[in-house]
C-alpha cells in the first residue's frame, strides 16, 4: 500500500525537537513517554528498597539495617511502588499512549489536563522523595493510626502530602480517560467494537475518580491530626483509630484493581494476538472488568476481620469478597478458551502471556484463603498476605505491564529489540518471581508476621530462598532495561505491524505521527478480527 510514503512523515518523537517541546507537550504519546521515564525511575528506587529488605532478611537477627531503618525501608518500598509506580504504570503509559489511538482519536479529550496530571505526579513524587531525604517515614504504606498520627516521629506529614498531591494526578487522568471514551470515538467505533484494553482502562478510570478523593481526604486528616490534634483517629481525644482503616481501605482495596485491571486489558490484547483469534466471550471479558471495578468497592472490610469489627459486617464483606473472585475466574477461563484452536505464534508476547497467567492464577486463588473469614484470622498480616498481593500486583500487574511494553515497544519507539533476549528475560522474571514469593506462602502459614526486622530461626530457609529469588528477579528486570534501551540506540527499525495485529494502532506508522492519523479512521469491523488480519510485516527482524 502507501506504507512507504507514510513512513516518510516525521514521527511524534522528532517533531519538533528540544527539551522544552517535550516538557510543554500536549501530545498524549509524549506525555506517556514522560510517565514511562518517571515510573521507571521510581521502579528502580522501589526496587532498591526491596533489595535492602531481602538482604536484611537473609539471617534471622538484624544485620546491616537497624530496626528503625528497616521500618523506613519497607515503608518506602510500599509507598514508592504503589503510589508512584503501580498505580500510574499501565494507565499513564500504555493507556495514555494507546487508548486514544485505539478508538481513533487524535488525542485525549483534555490534552492540557493530561500534561498537568504528569506535573502533579512529579510534584507529589518529589515531595515524597523529600520526606526520604529528610530522614524517611516509618508507618508502613498503610499509614495506620494512631501510630501514624500520634506515635511516629518521622516525616509522616510530608509523605502523606506527597500521596495526597499525587492522588489528583490519578483523578485527572481517570476523568480525562472517561470523557475521551465517551466523546472521542471515531465514526463506527461503537462501545462493543472497542478493544478490551480500552474497556479495562475505562473501568480503572471509574475506580480512580470515585476512590482517590477518599484516600486524599484520609491522609489529609492524618496530617491535620498531627498538626492540630483534631480528635479524628486518636482515641485519647475522642477519635477512632479503626475509622482510619475503613477510610483507607475504602480506597486502597479498589486501588488493587487500579493496578490489575489495566493489566487484564493488556493481556486480553496479547492473548488475542498470540492466538491470532477473536477473543473468546468478548462481552463477558468487558463486563467482568466493570463488575470487578464496582464490586471491588464493597469489600474493603476484608482487611479488618480481626480489628473487632462487627461479625455481621465481616460476613457481608466476606461474601462480597468471594463474589469478586468470580469475574476474575471468568476472565481467566475466557483467555484460556481464546487459545483453543488458535494459531499460536511463539513470539515473545506469548511468553509474557504465559507468565502472567501462571502468576495471576496463583495470586487470585490465594485470595480465596484470605476471603474465608475463619482462615483469615490465622493468615492476616502474615507473609501469606505479602506473597498473595505480590503475586497479584507484581506477578500479574508487572508481568502484564512488561508484556504490554514489549508488545507496543516497536510502535512507541519505532525500534525492535532482540526477541531471544526478551524470551530469556521473561523466563528469568517468571522463575525469579516464583522463587521469591512462593516460599512466603509457606512461611506465612507457619506464622511469620509481615514487617518483621528479625524473626525466629525456623523461618530462615524460606527467607534465604526468597532472597535468592529476588536476585534472579532483579537480574531479569535489569536485563530488560538494558536491551530495551539498547534497542533505541541500535535496534532495527520497526515495521508498521510487527505482530500482525488487528486494531487501529497497527494501521498507522511506527512511531506514529503527532496527530496519530492522517484522516479520521472509520471503523467497520469488530475488535480482534484476526480472520482478516494482515500478515505481520517483519522485513527487519526475524526470530530464528
Amino acid at each position: 500500500m502507501k506504507e512507504a510514503d507514510v513512513q516518510q512523515e516525521p514521527s511524534y518523537l522528532g517533531a519538533p525537537y528540544g527539551l522544552a517541546s517535550w516538557l510543554l507537550t500536549k501530545d498524549h504519546k509524549r506525555i506517556a513517554i514522560l510517565y514511562l521515564i518517571s515510573i521507571t525511575i521510581f521502579f528502580a528506587i522501589g526496587g532498591s528498597f526491596a533489595a535492602m529488605i531481602r538482604a536484611e532478611l537473609v539471617t534471622p537477627q538484624g544485620d546491616f539495617l537497624t530496626a528503625d531503618l528497616y521500618n523506613k525501608v519497607f515503608t518506602l518500598h510500599g509507598v514508592v511502588m504503589i503510589f508512584f509506580f503501580l498505580i500510574p504504570s499501565i494507565p499513564a503509559t500504555l493507556g495514555n499512549f494507546f487508548m486514544p489511538i485505539m478508538i481513533g482519536a487524535k488525542d485525549l479529550a483534555f490534552p492540557r489536563i493530561n500534561l498537568l496530571s504528569w506535573y502533579i505526579y512529579v510534584v507529589g513524587a518529589t515531595l515524597t522523595l523529600a520526606a526520604v531525604i529528610m530522614g524517611g517515614v516509618d508507618t508502613g504504606w498503610t499509614f495506620y493510626t494512631p501510630y501514624s498520627s500520634i506515635s511516629s516521629t518521622t516525616n509522616v506529614t510530608t509523605a502523606a502530602l506527597g500521596v495526597f498531591i499525587t492522588g489528583f494526578s490519578s483523578i485527572l487522568t481517570g476523568f480525562n480517560f472517561i470523557v475521551t471514551v465517551h466523546r472521542m470515538r471515531a465514526p463506527g467505533m461503537t462501545w462493543f467494537r472497542m478493544p478490551l484494553f480500552v474497556w479495562a482502562n475505562y473501568a480503572t478510570s471509574l475506580v480512580m475518580i470515585l476512590g482517590t478523593p477518599v484516600i486524599a481526604i484520609t491522609v489529609l486528616l492524618i496530617a491535620a491530626e498531627r498538626a492540630l490534634h483534631l480528635g479524628v483517629f486518636d482515641p485519647r481525644i475522642g477519635g477512632d483509630p479503626v475509622l482510619f482503616q475503613h477510610l483507607f481501605w475504602f480506597y486502597s482495596h479498589p486501588a488493587v484493581y487500579i493496578m490489575i485491571l489495566p493489566g487484564m486489558g493488556v493481556i486480553s490484547e496479547l492473548v488475542a494476538n498470540v492466538s491470532r483469534k477473536q477473543i473468546f466471550g468478548y462481552s463477558f471479558v468487558a463486563f467482568s472488568s466493570l463488575a470487578i471495578a464496582i464490586i471491588g468497592f464493597l469489600v474493603w472490610g476484608h482487611h479488618m476481620f480481626v480489628t473487632g469489627q462487627s461479625i455481621y459486617a465481616g460476613l457481608v464483606f466476606s461474601i462480597i469478597t468471594m463474589l469478586v473472585a468470580v469475574p476474575s475466574a471468568v476472565k481467566t477461563f475466557n483467555w484460556t478458551a481464546t487459545m483453543y484452536k488458535g494459531a499460536v505464534v511463539w513470539d515473545s508476547p506469548l511468553f509474557w502471556v504465559l507468565g502472567f497467567m501462571g502468576l495471576f492464577l496463583i495470586g487470585g486463588l490465594t485470595g480465596l484463603f484470605l476471603g474465608a473469614m475463619g482462615l483469615d484470622i490465622h493468615l492476616h498480616d502474615t507473609y501469606f498476605v505479602v506473597a498473595h498481593f505480590h503475586y497479584i500486583m507484581v506477578g500479574g500487574g508487572v508481568m502484564a505491564f512488561l508484556g504490554g511494553l514489549h508488545f507496543y515497544w516497536p510502535k512507541m519507539t519505532g525500534r525492535m529489540y532482540s526477541e531471544p533476549l526478551a524470551k530469556v528475560a521473561s523466563m528469568l522474571v517468571f522463575f525469579g518471581f516464583n522463587l521469591t514469593f512462593f516460599p512466603q506462602f509457606i512461611v506465612g502459614y507457619m506464622g511469620m508476621p509481615r514487617r518483621y526486622h528479625s524473626y525466629p530461626a525456623e523461618f530462615q530457609v524460606f527467607n534465604v530462598l526468597s532472597t535468592a529469588g529476588a536476585t534472579v528477579l532483579g537480574a531479569g528486570y535489569l536485563m530488560i532495561l538494558l536491551y530495551l534501551v539498547y534497542s533505541i540506540v541500535k535496534g532495527p527499525k520497526a515495521p508498521m505491524n510487527p505482530w500482525g495485529a488487528t486494531g487501529l494502532e497497527w494501521k498507522i506508522q511506527s512511531p506514529p505521527i503527532t496527530h496519530n492519523f492522517h484522516e479520521t479512521p472509520v471503523v467497520t469491523e469488530e475488535a480482534y478480527d484476526y480472520l482478516h488480519a494482515p500478515a505481520p510485516t517483519r522485513e527487519v527482524t526475524h526470530h530464528e
Binding site: 521500618n71 495506620y144 468471594m322 484452536k341 499460536v344 496463583i362 474465608a372 475463619g374 498480616d381 506464622g447
Partner: protein
C-alpha cells in the same frame, strides 16, 4: 532441634485442626483449578502452534461455557464463604466457662494478668484442655496478639477492648507474635505461650507472686478512685448503682438502648459523657489518663462481679 525442615506450624488448639481443614479444602480446589488452567494453556500452546499469517478458528464464544464457568466458581466460592464464616463464629464466641486472662499491649511488650492475680511479661502460661478467654487492651497504638500454633489472632486496639479465646490441646511452648506493625521494635514484641498440664499450671500459679486478684484490685481501686461515693450498692448515690449492670440493657437519656458489655463499661469510665444513663446528670468525671489500661481491666473485672442485692425480690425488668 529437629533435623527435618518444618513446613507446617504445630497444631496445638481445639480450633487449629478446623482451620487447617478449611485451608486444605481451599488448597485442593485452588490446586485443581491452577493445574487445570495451566495444563490447558500449555496444551493449546503446543497443540495449536501456528505460523505468522495464519488465523485461528472463527470462534466468538459460548454462552453455555460462560454460564458453567461463572456458576461453578460461584458455588465453590460460596462453600468457602459459609465454611469460613462458621469457623469465624466459633472463634468469635468464647465458651461461657472460659477462664479470663487480661493482656495489655504497649510499645513493645505484652503484660499478662491471670484471674488470681499472677502477672507475667511476654509469657502466657495456660492449662491445656480449658478454654481461655483473653481480654485485650492497648496503652498506645494498635498491636495484634497472634499465636500461630493456636491459629488465633486479634488486634489490640487503643480506646477499646477486644477479646479472643482458645483451648490449648498440647503442652509445649509456642510463639506469640505482635502481628500489627507498631513501630521500632514491632518484631521484638514477641513472647511465648506455655501450655501446661492443669496440675502444673496450678503449681505454677501457686509459685507465682500474686499482687491480689484482678477483682480484689478492682475493688480497691473502686474505693481509692472514689467511684464508691457516687455508685452505692443501692440507688442512694448520685450515680446509678452498678449492681447487675453488666450484661443488662441500659436506657440512655437520648433514647438509645445499649448492651452493657465490657466496652460499654470501659467507655463509661474513660468518656462518661459519651453515653449518659437515663435519669442521671452527666456529672461523672472522666478517668482518662488517671487509670492505666491494666487498672481499667481490674475495675471492669470488679464491676462485673457486682450483683443485685436481693435477687429473689428483684423485679423482672421489662
Amino acid at each position: 532441634m529437629s533435623s527435618t525442615l518444618p513446613l507446617f506450624p504445630p497444631s496445638a488448639s481445639t480450633v487449629a485442626g478446623d482451620v487447617d481443614a478449611l485451608f486444605f479444602f481451599i488448597l485442593a480446589v485452588s490446586a485443581f483449578f491452577a493445574v487445570l488452567v495451566s495444563v490447558l494453556i500449555l496444551y493449546f500452546t503446543f497443540k495449536f502452534k501456528g505460523k505468522h499469517g495464519e488465523a485461528g478458528a472463527d470462534i466468538h464464544g459460548s454462552l453455555t461455557l460462560e454460564l458453567i464457568w461463572t456458576g461453578i466458581p460461584f458455588v465453590l466460592a460460596m462453600v468457602m464463604f459459609v465454611w469460613g464464616a462458621q469457623l469465624f463464629f466459633t472463634l468469635a464466641k468464647p465458651p461461657a466457662d472460659a477462664m479470663d486472662v487480661f493482656v495489655v499491649g504497649k510499645q513493645w511488650m505484652w503484660k499478662v494478668q491471670h484471674p488470681e492475680g499472677v502477672r507475667e511479661i511476654n509469657e502466657l502460661h495456660v492449662p491445656i484442655g480449658r478454654p481461655v478467654r483473653l481480654t485485650l487492651g492497648s496503652e498506645d497504638v494498635i498491636h495484634d496478639f497472634y499465636i500461630p500454633a493456636f491459629r488465633v489472632k486479634m488486634d489490640v486496639v487503643p480506646g477499646r477492648l477486644t477479646t479472643m479465646w482458645f483451648t490449648a490441646t498440647k503442652t509445649g511452648e509456642y510463639h506469640i507474635f505482635c502481628s500489627q506493625y507498631c513501630g521500632t521494635k514491632h518484631s521484638g514484641m514477641i513472647g511465648t505461650v506455655v501450655a501446661m498440664q492443669p496440675e502444673d499450671y496450678e503449681a505454677w500459679l501457686a509459685g507465682g507472686r500474686s499482687t491480689g486478684s484482678a477483682v480484689q484490685n478492682g475493688e480497691r481501686l473502686f474505693t481509692e478512685l472514689s467511684c464508691i461515693t457516687c455508685h452505692k450498692a443501692d440507688s442512694s448515690g448520685r450515680g446509678p448503682t452498678l449492681a447487675g449492670v453488666f450484661g443488662s440493657t441500659v436506657q440512655l437519656n437520648d433514647g438509645r438502648k445499649v448492651l452493657a458489655d465490657e466496652n460499654y463499661l470501659r467507655e463509661s469510665i474513660m468518656s462518661p459523657q459519651a453515653k449518659v444513663v437515663q435519669g442521671f446528670q452527666p456529672i461523672m468525671p472522666t478517668f482518662q489518663g488517671l487509670v492505666s489500661e491494666e487498672n481499667l481491666l481490674q475495675l471492669i473485672a470488679y464491676v462485673k462481679t457486682l450483683k443485685p442485692a436481693e435477687p429473689a425480690s428483684a423485679p423482672v425488668k421489662k
